[in-house]
Symmetry: C2
Subunit: 236 residues, 2 copies
Amino acid sequence: MNLILLLPDDGIDGNGRVQLRGRRLKHVLEVHRAAAGDELRVGMLGGGIGRGRVLLLTPDVLEMEVRFDRTAPPPLPLTLILALPRPKALRRVLRTASSMGVKRIVLLNARRVEKSYWQSPYLETKALTEQLLLGLEQAQDTLLPEILLRPLFKPFVEDELPGLIRNTLPLVAHPNAIAECPRNTGREVTLAIGPEGGFIPYEVEKIAGCGFTPIRLGERILSTETVVPALLARLF
Amino acid sequence: MNLILLLPDDGIDGNGRVQLRGRRLKHVLEVHRAAAGDELRVGMLGGGIGRGRVLLLTPDVLEMEVRFDRTAPPPLPLTLILALPRPKALRRVLRTASSMGVKRIVLLNARRVEKSYWQSPYLETKALTEQLLLGLEQAQDTLLPEILLRPLFKPFVEDELPGLIRNTLPLVAHPNAIAECPRNTGREVTLAIGPEGGFIPYEVEKIAGCGFTPIRLGERILSTETVVPALLARLF
């Protein structure tokens, strides 16, 4: 937690004072090991970044006086479309994508996505948001990414995808692609990544049919958790 | 497991036949769901890659006839020096680095590495090797990376590091660096990455004193697990 993220219902008063309990209090006690008078980096969800001066820190409450004096880092100009990963990997991928500044993530069904993944409690809004917040706290960002769940492949690709990719560079990661992932694109990108085992040929054709270029990252097969940060670092 | 990695003591006979039990058998039964006659991708640790034809598959044994007809993918020209991450992150970082083709990894002490990390059972040779093998199986590689444990910072930096970086581009990732991580270096690189919280100024100075250039990856603070694949994808 490199930034303590304040939420609208934390109830910051007119003097910039706020009281925190729970996970954030615990972190400040155990990891920051802060004391009254210390300054901690804070951010307002959807807003600015600044400093919180510790007024009171007890096992029950952290009271700070906060002020915000700069904006969050710029978002990555990317929509990430991910075939739904297995739940444990999903959590890590969401944290990673959120920490790297992705602001729109589509979790999509595909043939090689196990049906049971869609029943995971990790897909509940609260669980998704938790991982995204952890990513923001890691990267000192404040802007929560949006997640779209799309459990039906075909209607998503046929009805939504053409609109989604307008004015972007649409790329689909595929181990059999011939083109290497472009570097430092300087453009808004829509990036689709298949499940472990890859999109099936029908799916690749449907996606390519919308205008996506298949690209790869070398000849190695990488896990979703590895390929997401690697591709993002290449693209931007 | 995109490749079944065979080990020297698996005892391949003169006809290229081999019997496997344990983890690899279980994977072929449960994930590949293979049957007699199927061909699976195999590799020989430290050697070639090829195909194994399933002769017999029962809950007790997998028997294959294997042949190797191509070489493993080229290694990444990189020595990765990592301040020892917390044990769970270490396991994932090792898998990632191994899957991306890193062949030499130095695990180094630093001021902000918790002392208890050095007592972790995950640092035993068998546990380290296990993660590296998982990375190779993921990426269809066969060449096991070497790991050096260096629990003393100063003697490592003063006595070993100058020799290690000879003829390489030495870079140290540091959030306060001004230079961005270079792209597509086309060179052999030595990359040092600090602990969560960063190297302390003394450590950065010592490392920079050997000739390392401090570099950063944007303005976000990323976790070790994210920054390793991201930096490697930038550098190569």
